[in-house]
Amino acid sequence: MPRLHAYLLGLLLWLTLPGCVDPFEPDVISSPPSYLVVSGFINLSGPTTIRLSRTQGVANTAAPAVEAKATVTIRDEAGTSYTLTEQTPGTYTSAALSLNPARKYQVRLRTAAGRDYASALVTPKPAPPIDKITWAVENRGVQLYLSTHDASNVTRYYRWTYTETWEFHSAYRSGLQYVNGRMEPRTEDIFQCWGTAGSITIELNSTARLNQDVVANYPLILLPPSSVKLRFKYSVLVRQYAQTPEEYAYWEQLKSNTESVGGLFDPVPTQLTGNVQCLTDASEPVIGYVGAGSVTEKRIFIASTELPLTQRYETGYNCAAPDTVPLPSVPAVFSSPAVLPLYTVYAPMSNTIVGYSSASTECTDCRRRGTNVRPDFWQ
């Protein structure tokens, strides 16, 4: 009987593993289209940045092809225009402007190839301030929540982006540097660094169905319990945008198109373009939605000392133990940029230098994963 029982259980486990996900790589679409992509928004108070780029093949992991040498202007419904200048190729920035929120705005541009494009005239939506960003330690990790409200009940549609910054240390501390054939004390700290990352998912919420324009504890960011970001200190700057219903619908669609497709009951992806049109050829697809409004920001910090001691962090480094380089090999080994000296190795019970311990640059130089310049906001 017990054997039969085990057999039945095994059978059941086998039969209950039905769902499986495999990679799907269709034959690469031979000639990927190169459509103009317009990203950015018209900032009512401050500089406006518009980026122009081109679409590329799905399998192409190269940096996006930018659209340089275009003329870009902001225009209001009365015809007043403000010019944007190209800072780096493909990135166009205006002076710090203070635009009248009662007017409608659009972006007009002409590419180097002489084609004209314009976004639709949009009503600007000023963003209310973020009330608070709170966090809680939960089973799944540290969850950050955002709360905001608009007492006048007009904002209703919100979008957020954020930039995370965290302190981290490399796997090994290097006290030495090998410069011009000489071993000398390290002058620059490459052990303590700050990492930074932007938001990857589209974060949206609407209060249109609520009686009051209140966003209460919107779950914005989830940091897994082992996240390296929480090891020393973590900070996040959240930017809040207010949107028109149309713009919200666009972002919601973009999110569902690329973030929540494929579940059994998710909607089918759709061809999504935006509110920019080619004036020269109306049938040319143009991608991007240019909205208008203002941004509000809020920053918080989370220090590891505020977290329970049970947190176990992953360093993200998977490094071999340091290796001692004997003196004769020093020039050959340390002339390579892939290896860095850590500290001096002496013979036992003496002051005689026998060599230097070493580790890979990847494991030693934290600048490979961030910057060692302390951010000016860092507390």
């Binding site: 039969l15 996900v21 459509y35 609520l210 973030e259 497709v261 494929g262 759709t270």
Partner: protein, 918 residues
């Protein structure tokens, strides 16, 4: 009157029979009787003898007696006098003379009079005018005389009656009842009723059908009469694993594009988790497709999943699936037949564009209490049936429940472990024969599903339906059925994660209907069907309510919708020549969307968006806000090229006034139904079909080729990114699209023998075009694009090999072209995150679909008298473990776009099911 007379006669006979004594010599009579009526003749004889005469005066009208007698014995004179007529006489010991038509009354009771079977025989032997109760024929050898000689007009008579199963008393539908010379045959309808019009004469009536023994009856047909035939169940049904009820129906039947399955062949097809599943089996039929496995949304000949009328004993079922479509919601044990009409849809059906799936339950055993059931990996089921009044009324009740929760608990995935899923369904059916002319049927159906995801969302949905039928036989040639139906479907989605946003979304649709259907067998050349129906819809399109005191969710309720759909129809089946038959039908349907409603008015000429609303009109309760009506033509023709081959063609138009709104690839329980209104026009479909049918080897191998072309107008499509739930101006997100579909279906079936089963190949295409309105509203620039169901090549094999009567194996093979999908064409960056630009809608395809299933059926002993019959089914679903993509999707992860395919049944799935019957 007649009846009472004969009854008293019988009583009298029995008394006389027991109390007769003595023997006196027969008296003699003399006289010349010229052209006397029987009454006059008898009066003269009574004057001359002590004998008393008995006869039915109605039966002797018009009889003329001419005889000469010179002191001859009474019996000799009577013999001489009655010789010219059909009358016979009998003389008993009490000096009584009985004159009856055709057959002499037995003056003594038969020795086996008190055995039930013999009563029927005795009754059959009597004179049986048209209005008398039907003869129950159970004897092959005897000759059943129907009607009084010479009573038929123009030498033709109609023989009608029911075919019933001897053991359970269940009607046998779809059995063919035919005579060989002249070749005239019909198939029994859903009540097991048949009517044949033949010239008077002697015939051998053949009854053949699935699961019953081939049966013959000898009939002497004089005039209109009734003959109920009891047939025996073919217990060793392993032999009769046929899909068509009648062996030559394929060729000889009028209907084309009809697929008929009985529960025995349904059981043989291996399925996932060993659940006998009618919709899965329907999916193996030519011309029927689904989006993928794990979905029971049917696409029939390129139509959409909402274009199928699914009837459960005439009541509509809106969601025929359990567990989001993994199982169909019908308990196999209560089912009798499943019929799928793909073309040439009869005029009595309407309301859906593509097909009618007519599911009928059994009536229940009228003779004794019995039951059946099964134990499977996910569900168990039990069915009980039996007589309430023997031979008159019966009940059938079946229940099925799942216990999948404990399976989920065993999973390693925490989210799934915290989920729960369960379903059950109940079916109950009552039938009661009030008398020979009136029968009542009642059916109730309930199915309930609930599914709770760990992510704090719970889904639940329910189907409730019922039907009440009254069948009345007006006469041999006319019968009618009055049906009332009720259907209710609703779902609830509760979200309880955050106390502030806890809410519940509900949807419901209710449908009340009444219909009257009549069949009139005018003569051998004309059979008329006509009737009327009306349906009242009530839809609650969506309602969001807060849950819990902390919830800030505002109640949001869409206005209720109501509508009335009515139809009248008539169709005539005309046998032009023995080879050529035509069915001409017309259905006229009429639809009104009714208030109270508020209807938005939009700026003329501009695309409908919330910003172009100019006004809102309010319609009062019961006022019509939109009216649509139109004819639906139904015509088909059959020409028998030879005895074993025929050509059929059909044309039908269908209209559909209710559409399903679904934005997802598979059918999901969150799909809602939308009634046609001022902006959503009814869908109209036209289909022409042509088929060639040929049978080989004495009808054991059936082959067919059917080609069709279909056009659909005004079916609902969506703008990109349409919002379908809780949308107060839904018309701004919907577009009226057009579709066309065409294809050829090849089919080979072998119904009997050690190897049996079917093999189908279908080539078909299905296209959609949304070219109305502005460029932004058009899809793929207004060009035709492949619909979600466009799978050009499709091969299905359902095979069965019988090693012995107790052991058989089944093999299923499926291949089809991958379904169309929308692929990402290019990537681009917004805010430094890669996003995807998708291709035209449905421009590419997922990999081809391929699956093999295997099953073994082991039957218990075949002793007919055994207390309980049991069987085991061991099945392996997806034998080769192919990972067929159910869904393909792309996700932006860490700035990289990766494609994934999700397969639902990616491994071989073995199951064991135990079935029993008592």
């Amino acid at each position: 009157m007649n009846y009472i007379y004969r009854f008293t006669l019988l009583i009298g006979l029995s008394i006389l029979g027991f109390g007769s004594y003595g023997q006196t010599p027969e008296p003699v009579v003399s006289g010349s009787f010229q052209g006397l009526s029987l009454e006059q003749f008898v009066r003269q004889l009574e004057a001359q003898t002590p004998y008393r005469f008995f006869f039915d005066s109605a039966a002797v009208v018009g009889v003329q007696i001419t005889a000469q007698a010179q002191a001859q014995p009474l019996s000799l004179v009577l013999q001489q006098a009655l010789a010219a007529s059909e009358l016979r006489f009998a003389i008993d010991e009490e000096h009584n003379v009985f004159i009856t038509p055709r057959q002499a009354v037995p003056t003594e009771l038969p020795t086996d009079y008190f055995r039930p079977g013999a009563v029927a025989a005795a009754r059959a032997a009597e004179n049986t005018p048209a209005a008398s109760p039907p003869v129950r024929a159970a004897n092959v050898a005897r000759l059943y005389e129907i009607g009084r000689p010479g009573a038929a007009t123009a030498g033709k008579a109609t023989l009608a009656g029911h075919v019933r199963e001897a053991k359970s008393g269940e009607p046998v539908p779809g059995a063919s009842v035919y005579v060989e010379a002249p070749a005239v045959g019909v198939s029994t309808d859903q009540f097991g009723y048949y009517a044949l019009t033949l010239p008077a004469g002697r015939y051998t009536l053949n009854i053949r059908g699935i699961g019953i023994k081939n049966t013959r009856r000898q009939v002497q047909l004089h005039a209109d009469g009734k003959l109920d035939v009891e047939v025996e169940e073919d217990i060793t049904n392993l032999k009769e694993v046929v899909i068509e009820a009648e062996k030559d129906k394929n060729v000889a039947g009028m209907q084309m594009g009809l697929e008929k399955l009985d529960i025995k062949s349904i059981r043989q097809v291996p399925t996932a988790f060993g659940e006998t599943d009618i919709l899965r089996v329907v999916l193996t039929l030519p011309g029927v497709k689904s989006i993928g496995e794990g979905s029971t949304g049917l696409s029939v000949r390129g139509g959409a999943t909402d274009q199928n009328l699914i009837l459960f004993n005439d009541a509509t079922v809106y969601n025929p699936s359990h567990l989001f479509g993994f199982f169909s919601a019908f308990n196999p044990d209560v089912l009798k037949t499943v019929e799928l009409y793909k073309s040439g849809i009869p005029a009595r059906f309407g309301g859906r564009l593509s097909s009618v799936l007519d599911i009928a339950t059994r009536d229940g055993n009228k003779k004794k209490l019995s039951g059946s059931g099964g134990i499977g990996a996910l569900t168990s089921r039990l069915t009980l049936e039996g007589p309430i009044i023997k031979d008159k009324s019966s009940f059938l009740i079946g229940a099925r429940a799942s216990y999948s929760d404990w399976l989920l608990r065993l999973l390693s995935n925490q989210e799934l472990r915290q989920s729960s899923a369960g379903f059950y369904d109940l079916s109950a059916h009552l039938s009661h024969e009030l008398n020979d002319k009136n029968t009542l049927y009642a059916t109730g159906y309930l199915s309930q599903d609930r599914f709770r995801l760990a992510s704090d969302t719970s889904y639940a949905y329910q189907n409730r339906s019922g039907s009440l039928k009254w069948k009345h036989i007006f006469g041999n040639k006319l019968y009618g059925v009055l049906t009332g139906t009720y259907t209710n479907y609703e779902y609830q989605i509760a979200s309880e994660g955050n106390a502030v946003t806890s809410s519940e979304l509900t949807f419901g649709i209710r449908q009340l209907g009444a219909q009257a259907d009549f069949s009139y067998f005018h003569n051998a050349k004309h059979t008329l069907d006509f009737g009327a129906s009306t349906l009242r819809y009530r839809v609650q399109p969506g309602k969001l309510v807060p849950r819990g005191g902390e919830s800030l969710v505002a109640t949001d309720e869409l206005a209720r919708e109501q509508a009335q759909e009515s139809a009248l129809y008539v169709s005539d089946k005309i046998e032009v020549t023995p080879r050529l038959a035509v069915v001409l039908g017309l259905r006229y349907s009429f639809y009104q969307a009714l208030g109270p409603r508020e209807v938005n008015q939009y700026l003329a000429g501009a695309p409908r968006t919330p910003s172009t609303i100019t006004d809102t009109l309010r319609y009062g309760a019961g006022t019509s806000l939109a009216t649509y009506h139109g004819p639906e033509y139904r015509a088909s023709v059959k020409y028998a090229v030879s005895d074993n081959s025929s050509v059929k063609a059909s044309y039908n138009r269908t209209r559909q006034y209710i559409s399903q709104l679904s934005n997802t690839t598979s059918l999901s329980p969150t799909d809602t139904w939308k009634l046609s209104d001022a902006y959503v026009r009814p869908q109209v479909g036209d289909q022409v079909a042509l088929g060639y049918y040929r049978n080989f080897r004495h009808n054991t191998i059936e082959t067919s080729v059917e080609a069709y072309y279909k056009r659909m107008r005004d079916f609902v499509d969506y703008k990109s990114g349409a919002k379908l739930l809780l949308n107060h101006h839904l018309e701004t997100d919907l577009i009226n699209a057009q579709g066309k579909a065409y294809g050829v279906e090849f089919s080979i079936r072998k119904a009997t023998g050690k190897i049996n089963g079917w093999l189908n190949y279908t080539y078909s295409r299905s296209w959609v075009r949304a070219n109305a309105g502005s460029a932004a509203e058009q899809i793929n620039r207004g060009e035709y694009y492949p619909s979600n169901f466009d799978k050009p090549h499709d091969v299905t094999l359902a095979g069965n090999y019988r090693f012995s009567r107790r052991f058989s194996t089944s093999l299923n093979f499926n291949y089809s072209t991958g379904r169309p999908i929308t692929l990402p064409l290019a990537r681009y960056y917004v805010d430094d995150v890669a996003r995807v630009f998708y291709s035209d809608r449905n421009a590419y395809r997922v990999p081809d679909y391929y699956r093999v299933d295997f099953a073994m059926n082991i039957e218990g002993g075949h002793q007919a008298k055994k207390l309980a019959h049991s069987s085991w089914t061991v099945a392996i679903y997806n034998l080769t473990g192919r990972r067929n993509p159910y869904s393909v999707y792309f996700r932006s992860q860490g700035g990289q776009i990766k494609g994934y395919q999700l397969s639902i049944f990616g491994q071989p799935i073995p199951t064991v099911t135990y079935n029993f019957k008592f």
